[in-house]
Amino acid sequence: MKKFVDESWLVLVMGVVFACLLAGTQTSLEARILENQARALNEAIAEVVPVVDTMETLTVDGNTVYKCLDKEGNLAGWAVDAVGTGFVDKIRLVAGLSPDGSRVTGIKVIEDLETPGLGNKIEGEWADQYKGLDASRKIEAIKGEANRDNNEVQAITGATYSSTYVTDIVNDVIERVRPMLEEHR
């Protein structure tokens, strides 16, 4: 017993001291970290829903849906938080739907680890193509010129998989959430 204490007291003491140090750091920084994450989400929502004054958070079929209201309290649109398979790791995005759920008002990727220079273009202007597409039909990512009347988006050259995965995530979440929006209106 004495040998055990002799040899290990320092490890035990350091363990306790370091644990306190970490607890202190975590406590003092946690609020800031959560605030950063919330800000990233709010900015994404503001991009996909044209007018947002206040939001209500709902859970629809396992997905978090933000019901966005304008200044007068009228329904301005829906923002749906969705996660799905990507090329490298999971992709998390926010998809905006018009108040009646008929149109996609935009999408914004908020977390991804797609290939820099190719797949990570999904984070930028490329996503604007989704604005105004028909939410009642499947969206398709195709190579080459896209025909918007057929609900198509043009896949990123060299990143067809990333483009398809984003489209799949959007299709999947819209299909599951859209029929349920009516009852939350």
Partner: protein, 209 residues
């Protein structure tokens, strides 16, 4: 290093003569993974510097109390603690960059460069020398990462610190995408290490080093 070296020499040795990345070829994982822009390289370098400084400080302060056969455990415990602190701090203050660095900040824990400094210097030498060594190694690491970051960001994205530095004609579809991807890291590192070895070999011949 049979003779005692001064603190300044110990510092310079880490930055140049014994640069962890370019000469010792340690810490290759972050070197290859996060140097696709100068910003990422600098942040990674500073985080690793913070960890190696704290690890050397604590190890050399306690060096007479640490029992030889539990030393690795103590090194790892110390490093893990400060890596976690660095990770939380980045998440709180530079959220965007920390998202890009992703898992590579927590992975500083297994950066052999840091444990190597504890084992080679901090467990044997005094606090001042260990700190000089840690700053030298940390700055040397940051410098090497930054060289890679500058080359890869300019050629791969046409920007530096996210500001455009090459003409529009280059950016419009002529960027070397490969430089941003993992092969670009290997190519750049190979060339830089080659140049460093060439210079060292010439220096040795001339008797200067």
């Amino acid at each position: 290093m049979a003779k005692e070296v001064s603190n300044l020499e110990q510092f310079k040795d880490g930055v140049l003569g014994n640069n962890p990345v370019l000469v010792q070829l340690l810490g290759m994982c972050p070197t290859l993974a996060v140097t696709n822009s100068l910003e990422n390289a600098l942040v990674m370098g500073m985080a690793a510097t913070f960890v190696v400084v704290m690890s050397n400080l604590i190890t050399s302060t306690l060096r007479n109390l640490i029992k030889p056969h539990v030393r690795i455990l103590i090194f790892t415990l110390t490093i893990a603690t400060f890596v976690t602190i660095a990770d939380l701090t980045l998440k709180a203050y530079i959220f965007e960059v920390s998202k890009k660095l992703g898992a590579f900040v927590p992975l500083i824990i297994v950066n052999c460069m840091i444990i190597c400094r504890a084992e080679v210097v901090a467990i044997k030498k005094g606090v001042a020398k260990s700190l000089a060594d840690a700053f030298g190694i940390g700055i040397g690491f940051t410098l090497a990462l930054s060289i890679l970051g500058v080359v890869r960001e300019i050629l791969g994205s046409g920007t530096l610190m996210n500001r455009q530095v090459l003409p529009d004609a280059f950016l419009d579809g002529h960027t070397w995408v490969i430089m941003v991807l993992p092969p670009g890291a290997f190519l750049t590192l190979g060339v830089v290490v080659g140049v460093v070895n060439h210079v060292r070999a010439r220096g040795a011949k001339g008797g200067a080093a």
